[in-house]
Symmetry: C2
Subunit: 707 residues, 2 copies
């Protein structure tokens, strides 16, 4: 009897906040939380709960929730773990809508049962749980700091969702250092109920939130998260740090390991699919968030580098290629734009090199020219300290030009020099100039801006619900149910083929003959060469019985094979009932691919693609996506593998039938979706022929849920 869930906006904008375990004793968490709520300037009602009653920071406390006459939107719980369950029951009874359990000592230390019980009680009573094992939440919209972390949080445009409490608190500090303002920060901890997806639902439409940052250690309910993430990234940038990317890191995070590729690779592909920008480390994430929260969208992809030093110009061109930043390349237009400001021994090519000998006025003229030119969409300004470009001139000139133009266009600055020079750069940074000591960091910010620009360009296409390929779900479920009834969790070859048929996935043609004439007729119908196999329930190992013949090229060979198989099998097992002889198309050589679909422990339904054999096994050259995908995304996935050029045809070969591969990818996903019993499907190989000649699923392996 699960009750309807309250709107997530009540978590971010509660009118009344209770603190269960409020304390008058400084140093206690129950004191700190109340103090933070007060100091933060929250204007709603604060309800301290303490069984002993008394005053807490000037507020009269209640001995129990029941004593408080009004409704409670959010309760923050800071009592010892052993009291939590009873208190959760009391909250449920009181009709509390959201409960933020700061207390730790639940699933993270193996106490899974009690955590599940808490969730059960909550859901039965229309209550939702944040945590446990968190530092609380800060919501800038209502100036609510219901955490035991720092009390002074800068308001701004970045919202943080963090799975690590300690790192979250440290990040609050770090945002202050980096001069980043927060619209909210929420600690999700064990994610027993509320997870990233719930929070994103609110943040997507929260006008205060310009950028969302997530620190993730593990994905729990990816099938809910993915569509929400896709929607979020069409509206605002989402940056993610996921730790546990390495084997050792994953061990440290006690994460599961994937089978074919590490789970981290799946995460990487799915984040890309969702348009999320994955940062490697905290500093990079902070740089990106700050920049993305301040900079406007560029109007196009033409980026120009203005530098006074060739060396840093070359380094910057390298960085641009690394971070997928497109350097404007129209030599004539560049010459026209910059010839007035670049001395004759400089270069108007991009990087535009005014040289170390140029005056500050030349420098400024070049930057002005870049701002003035409508075909130039973003600007990277570099500099080395010189006789004219000193600490003093840096603050003066760059300060002036940024004051004049600021973010008329996306711009970044990076300068190298001595102490006075660096101090000047620091002054500019404090004034809001996007100034980076290392040019690679500057270009990395420009790169993530352009990744976001491209994502924004996708519009509705990015979130449209893909049409599914029709598959015979009834038949598939029938097969799977029969297999389960047989006590197995894997399908036999013929059962797998039946599933393929139900999805109309092309396979080698196969017909069962009952006479020699019929065998010849079928072989003629299928086309030579063919393979023949005995069909008999009593003969399992067909090859051992001499019941298989390969590469039969004409009627005579089919006749010989028919006789030989009958003879061999009768000798092998005189009691065997021979139902017939299967005549199967010999699969022609083509490009072998592997297609898979499985229930990922974190992301749920995922699909996989790679080229057959060693490409997957040795080169680990595979791509993943969260299901569902549309045609476009399936094609993008195929293009993601490094060996993709093989499908386009190398050494004079024709292009392979990529449409056919896409079709099977979509069908395999649809099969997985059509039947809850299926956990794993792998077609290996799916042979792809020349464009228009189709594909053939040669072998398929399907696994079902183990009960």
């Amino acid at each position: 009897m699960t009750q309807q869930k309250p709107s997530i906006s009540l978590l971010f904008e509660p009118k009344t906040v209770a603190v269960i375990g409020a304390s008058a004793t400084p140093g206690k968490i129950g004191y700190q939380v109340v103090k933070n709520i007060q100091d933060g300037g929250y204007e709603g009602t604060i309800v301290p709960i303490n069984p002993k009653g008394g005053e807490v920071l000037g507020l009269e406390s209640y001995k129990s929730l029941e004593d408080f006459p009004g409704d409670i939107d959010l309760a923050t719980m800071v009592i010892p773990a052993k009291f939590v369950l009873d208190s959760v029951k009391a909250c449920a009874k009181k009709g509390v809508k959201f409960l933020s359990i700061i207390t730790s000592g639940f699933s993270e230390v193996g106490n899974v049962e009690e955590e599940l019980e808490i969730v059960r009680i909550a859901h039965e009573n229309g209550m939702r749980i944040l945590g446990p094992n968190i530092f609380g939440l800060y919501s800038g919209g209502v100036s609510l700091n219901a955490t035991f972390g720092p009390s002074d949080i800068n308001k701004g445009g970045v919202s943080i969702i963090t799975q690590s409490g300690a790192l979250g608190i440290a990040m609050i500090g770090k945002t202050k250092v980096e001069n980043i303002g927060l619209s909210s920060i929420i600690s999700v901890g064990n994610k027993c109920d509320i997870d990233e997806a719930d929070l994103l639902e609110y943040l997507i439409d929260d006008d205060e939130t310009k950028v969302i940052l997530m620190y993730i250690e593990g994905i729990k309910n990816g099938e809910r998260l993915v569509p929400v993430l896709k929607r979020a990234t069409t509206k605002k940038p989402v940056v993610a740090i996921k730790s546990g990317r390495s084997k050792r890191g994953a061990m440290a995070a006690a994460s599961h390991t994937g089978s074919l590729a590490g789970a981290d690779e799946v995460f990487d592909f799915v984040m890309k699919q969702c348009g999320v920008h994955r940062a490697e480390n905290l500093q990079e994430a902070m740089n990106w968030c700050k920049y993305l929260s301040e900079v406007p969208m560029p109007k196009g992809e033409n980026v120009v580098i203005v530098t006074n030093g060739g060396g840093v110009g070359v380094l910057c061109a390298d960085a641009c290629e690394k971070h997928d930043v497109t350097l404007y390349d129209d030599q004539a237009a560049l010459k026209e734009a910059f010839s007035g400001s670049v001395p004759s021994f400089g270069s108007t090519k991009n990087p535009v090199d005014i040289t170390g000998g140029a005056s500050m006025d030349d420098y400024m003229a070049a930057i002005e020219a870049a701002y003035a030119n409508d075909d130039i969409h973003s600007i990277i300004v570099l500099g080395c300290e010189t006789a004219v470009l000193t600490g003093g001139t840096l603050t003066e000139y760059i300060g002036k030009i940024f004051e004049r133009h600021g973010y008329e266009k996306p711009i970044v600055y990076s300068f190298v020099g001595g102490s006075e020079f660096e101090d000047s750069a620091g002054v500019l940074r404090d004034q809001g100039v996007p100034m980076f000591p290392e040019l690679y960091d500057a270009v990395s910010c420009m790169g993530v801006l352009y990744a976001d620009y491209r994502r924004r360009g996708m519009g509705e296409e990015a979130i449209a619900e893909p049409e599914r390929k029709p598959v015979d779900a009834e038949r598939i479920n029938e097969i799977a149910t029969a297999v389960k009834a047989d006590g197995r969790s894997f399908l036999l070859a013929n059962e797998g083929l039946e599933v393929m048929k139900a999805a109309k996935i092309p396979m080698p043609v196969s017909l069962i003959s009952h006479t020699m004439d019929q065998a010849v007729a079928y072989a003629e119908k299928i086309g030579y060469p063919v393979v023949m196999k005995v069909v008999s329930n009593e003969i399992v190992h067909k090859s051992d019985a001499g019941g298989v013949a390969l590469n039969l090229e004409n009627a005579d060979e089919v006749i010989d094979a028919y006789q030989a198989i009958m003879h061999n099998c009768r000798n092998y097992n005189p009691d065997a009932k021979i139902t017939g002889i299967e005549v199967v198309e010999m699969v022609k050589k083509g490009t072998e691919t592997i297609i898979g679909a499985r229930i990922d422990p974190g992301f749920g339904r995922t699909i996989m693609f790679g080229l057959g054999g060693i490409y997957v096994e040795v080169m680990k050259d595979v791509a993943f996506r969260s299901w569902p995908v549309d045609n476009h995304e399936a094609l993008a996935m195929i293009k993601d593998i490094k060996s993709y050029p093989l499908l386009l045809g190398v050494r004079g070969e024709e292009q392979r039938d990529i449409d056919g591969v896409v079709d099977v990818l979509l069908k395999v996903g649809a099969i997985l979706e059509s039947c809850d019993l299926i956990t794993d499907i792998e077609i290996n190989p799916l042979v792809a022929y020349e464009q228009g000649e189709g594909v053939k699923a040669v072998d398929v392996r399907i696994l079902l849920k183990k009960d």
Copy 2:
């Protein structure tokens, strides 16, 4: 009539320094250089040269070099380009040993001829040239700052060689910001004569120089550089930044592009071969140099992470895997070492997590335990700001423990927190504590230290001159000379095979028969199946003439083929003189590899290895080395390719004959070395069979110098 070159130590430790173009006018470069030399505290003789004479900064100037009575070890030239050549002649006449030409306007703007003339004059007179187009040089050993850059340079253990002048000057500033001391910094500019190799010769044995940093845009004389680099890295760490790694960057640096793989890839492999640590950007290089110049060598590979936060611990484990830092893994030993300091809810596994709730004393106890344990060789200390780990306790406790133990073992610190916390970290950094705001940067330093540790472990092996495989150099030169005489710069198939023979590289057996009986006898000798081909100078397109028969499996087929070929060819060209019919072994299927050797424009003789076909063409999976290599390095090269597991055997296959591949690699290098006419050799494919079954060079392409 080139004179003997002066010892490079005179460049670094000159007793007398002339400044040609010295000026009394502040702001002029000729003034700045003299002033820097004076201010730097140089104790040798300064000789200002100015045609007008007069006093320069209190020194009597000379109107010409001749007027100065003594010897001049180093002359620094700051006069306009048009006067340089005459002045070089004067220097040569005076017997100047080293000339540092600051002036620009030579090969970098296309004025190649004059630069070559300068070098010619210098070498004829036993003089060497630094530059032109540089900012000069600073040599800490004699406190000589003969640059027009900053006058205040911190002395220390890092020596910088830079190809970019502007960036070099900016780097001097940057080193001051980063608190890095310099033993020398030399601007090499156009490298018309003195290059990195010359300078390294001095720096290898310079006791003041602990670490060498090179900023490189292009390699000019790699065959000299490589052996010197190899020697240098066995003694001290060498860090390199090479710009122009991207296509666009290479264009910007006006660099050449490689053929099979970008030249940058060759650079990357050769630096690895030389034990050089390649940094991506300036900040990374500075971090490495500072850390490497201060830290002692570790005693082993066991690294322990001590943290108060699980999240940063996981991130750090990821960073360790990325940077090849080995986490100590003996659970029992870790438990014994840390159980006293880690609370029960923490973890003694590595990362050792004392948790946010632990006291500062616990923290310190854990670090002390890591110092005390001889099986722990290096320490990474992480922290998030908490109630107990505040800015105040950070400086106090970490300051104390670093004071007590410092670099008893390699250690790095990284802490995340708010402004006060960061300020405290900054105070510690100023005190010399290796403290990094971003833990990935900390681990990157630990990683480069371990890379260096492994290099140091190689000892003499790293620089021993490899033994060459014997090849018949005389025969190879004879073939190449004949080809040149024929007006070609490429070898025909049979000429290529002759070269292979001269190096005893195994090829398919081939015998030329003159009668049908002989053809059968040869086929029997070679073993079936065989291929037969007509031999006739008049029949070039053998297949078109019906002069080729494949896959002949027995004597009858050989007889039929012999008759058919004779018949076809006589019909095809009745006038053709048929010399015989070649009987060739049919090459069995195996693993196709590609082996190459070529003269790289920058590195000179290089060798290449990859797996055949699409691995090279599509996956770009190739490895390079500078020649010569020994067995060990050739094997390392083979292991460098991602598809290496294919040679070990996949899917139940036997291992391939890797020794055979190594043998051919070494022979191909030896061929290139044996004959100055040859520029390119490519064996494609070299088919590798099972271990012990050898390899076969099926096709070879050899190119000669174009005159």
